[in-house]
């Protein structure tokens, strides 16, 4: 068994003058303190990557900087799915007895460390270098393509997608660490600047500075145990040109495997943390995961189903869309928030019951998927 024993999260937005290592360190310190551990007790480190400061050995760079000499350390790169992929690996490392306490950490000064153009350009390189990138696509365009097809097949409208941006903003209003604190409406989303139609500015997550970290341990270190009940991955393609049909995307494969690994059904889930780089990402993933029927996720948003007091509270910190997206740390904030909810520490955002949570991450263009179930044990 493995337990998430500590979590740490910085505010997302502008951290002028902070490097990627600074933001990783801040989050790591918070997570280790939250677990009630000393730095010297951390014997494994998994970290993501920084597009601002790329390095071939980021985990050891970080370990030296932070002051840890681990017995196991390396970086992991699965795009937006990196945080959950690292958590899955930490779970297996701990279960296999390789390490006792793994620090999982991500952080990047993506907003203030480089220009927005540089960020957009760096991310567009997930496209095929010969057959896609010369056409001038951007990450929003890759997802814009997916959105156009999904809308065509399932009758989803731009107004439907806008509901997800409004919901994430509503949630962010209650979190002091979120990047955005101004309420928005569907009309605001519809009127926002076109980026890669059908996606507009408010359909897209922002670029942020920030850091997030967790500790995964063999035993609980606090009063409430949050156990990794089961997890699984699926990787169907890298490039959107080579993506399978919408009905064969990796999220459905990953969730089926995770349900089997965890022995959990969707009807058991009480809290959801789902990757939301764009409104279309969230809409599709909710439906792929079985949290809504095809084409019906938006109507569930309208009815309050995914709200704090709804049947399936979703991304109560505001998600990538409104808490912010600093790269690897971006979707790690989803897990931090889930942990706070499961341990009854979410303050004014606290939901009634987060005893079993479903988390899902997506990297590339719906290319790499990680599904994970967490369970409160006492």
């Amino acid at each position: 068994m493995s337990f998430i024993t500590g979590v740490g999260l910085t505010a997302y937005g502008r951290h002028e003058g902070s490097s990627s290592l600074d933001l990783m360190s801040k989050a790591a310190e918070l997570a280790i303190a939250d677990a009630g551990l000393k730095r010297s007790e951390i014997d494994g480190i998994l970290c993501g990557y920084s597009t601002v400061a790329p390095h071939i050995m980021l985990a050891t760079v970080f370990a030296e900087h932070f002051g840890i000499r681990p017995s196991y350390a390396h970086a992991v790169q699965v795009g937006g799915a990196t945080g959950l992929a690292m958590t899955m690996l930490a779970h297996h490392l701990v279960e296999a007895g390789v390490v006792r306490h793994v620090l999982v950490v991500g952080g990047e000064n993506r907003l203030t460390g480089q220009s927005r153009d540089a960020s957009i350009l760096a991310l567009a390189q997930v496209g095929h270098p010969d057959y896609e990138v010369p056409l001038g696509p951007t990450i929003p365009a890759y997802y814009g393509l997916v959105a156009s097809r999904y809308m065509h097949e399932y009758g989803v409208t731009q107004e439907d997608l806008a509901e997800f941006a409004v919901l994430m903003r509503k949630h962010a209003l209650t979190h002091p660490g979120a990047q955005f604190h101004d309420p928005i409406t569907v009309a605001d989303v519809m009127a926002s600047k076109p980026v890669a139609l059908p996606l507009k500015l408010l359909d897209c997550c922002p670029v942020s500075d920030g850091g997030a970290a967790f500790v995964i341990s063999r035993e609980p270190t606090g009063e409430t145990g949050v156990r990794v009940r089961g997890c699984a991955q699926a990787h169907t393609h890298q490039h959107v040109t080579a993506a399978p049909a919408l009905s064969e995307l990796g999220a459905e494969i990953a969730i089926a495997r995770a349900k089997q690994a965890a022995g959990v059904a969707i009807s058991d889930v009480r809290y959801a943390a789902v990757y939301d780089s764009f409104t279309i990402t969230l809409a599709m993933l909710l439906e792929d995961l079985g949290l809504a029927r095809r084409g019906e996720a938006a109507s569930r948003v309208r009815s309050g189903y995914f709200g704090r007091d709804g049947e399936m509270p979703l991304n109560t910190h505001g998600g990538l869309l409104s808490y912010g997206h600093c790269g690897v740390g971006g979707a790690m904030a989803h897990l931090v928030e889930t942990h706070l909810q499961m341990t009854g520490r979410a303050g004014n955002r606290q939901v009634r019951d987060a005893s079993i949570a479903l988390l899902h991450g997506d990297g590339g263009v719906l290319s790499s998927h990680v599904s994970m179930f967490l369970e409160r044990t006492r």
Partner: protein, 121 residues
């Protein structure tokens, strides 16, 4: 990228779309490789595509990230399914809809030649 290149295509500056066909299993592939990604057999045969297709998806890019691409906005990125059995990314008319039958020509874009689809007349 590896793979023997017999036919020049738009990625090499020629006005052509080229794909590969596996002599062993019959699978087609668009991204050039020295082997068939479906069965692993070596040396798939290069073929020139007809330039016809059907629009699978579209996204009109209104925010670009480089001065060279910004000069072209808005430009429509499209995924096109070809009768030869592969899907490709290209540019297209801004008013294309999913399901439209389209034919390719080639246009300059950010210092390159790129495939551009318009409705088949």
């Amino acid at each position: 990228m590896s793979g023997s290149r017999q036919l020049a295509d738009w990625t090499a500056g020629a006005e052509a779309i080229v794909y590969q066909s596996c002599a062993a299993c019959g699978a087609g592939q668009y991204f050039r490789r020295s082997f068939c990604a479906a069965c692993g057999a070596p040396d798939p045969v290069e073929k020139r595509a007809s330039g016809q297709g059907t629009v699978y998806a579209t996204s009109l890019v209104c925010r670009a990230a480089t001065p060279e691409t910004r000069a072209h906005i808005p430009y429509n990125i499209v995924l096109v399914d070809t009768p030869e059995g592969f899907r490709m990314m290209a540019h297209g008319d801004s008013d294309l809809s999913i399901g439209d039958e389209v034919t390719v020509h080639f246009v300059p874009f950010a210092g390159r030649l790129v495939p551009y689809f318009a409705r088949t007349k």
